[in-house]
């Protein structure tokens, strides 16, 4: 029955996409809708730029993790030296 559920959700998902696309069908005739579309287009560009910034932040975090791990390893070496000294 899970296969059948998955099949049904797959078909329903496609029907939803078609409904969305149908709603766009008449947008060329309605100037108000065209304006909305232009705004969406601009917003998408803005979100793309934000995602680029977010991506570089994520890369920075991943780089910081590497440095922190190196720092931790060297600190653990220091601890072993102090322990040996003791």
């Amino acid at each position: 029955s899970s296969d059948l559920d998955r099949l049904c959700s797959h078909i329903n998902e496609k029907i939803d996409i078609i409904k969305n696309t149908l709603s766009l069908r008449n947008c060329g005739r309605d100037p108000a809708l065209t304006t909305v579309l232009d705004k969406i287009g601009n917003e998408i560009i803005a979100v793309h730029q934000l995602l680029n910034q977010l991506e570089s932040e994520v890369q920075y975090h991943e780089q910081t993790n590497i440095s922190l791990k190196e720092l931790c390893d060297s600190l653990e070496e220091d601890f072993k030296d102090v322990e040996h000294l003791k």
Binding site: E43, L50, L51, L54, E57, V58, T64, L71
Partner: protein, 32 residues
């Protein structure tokens, strides 16, 4: 909206980066 979510996550990521810089500086200082 998605744009607000991205902005919130971006601010959070930047804040955590600042905190990590401070943490690393403090660690290195004490290791000397």
């Amino acid at each position: 909206t998605l744009k607000d979510d991205v902005n919130i996550l971006l601010d959070k990521a930047r804040l955590e980066s600042q905190e990590s810089i401070g943490f690393m500086k403090a660690t290195k200082l004490l290791m000397k």
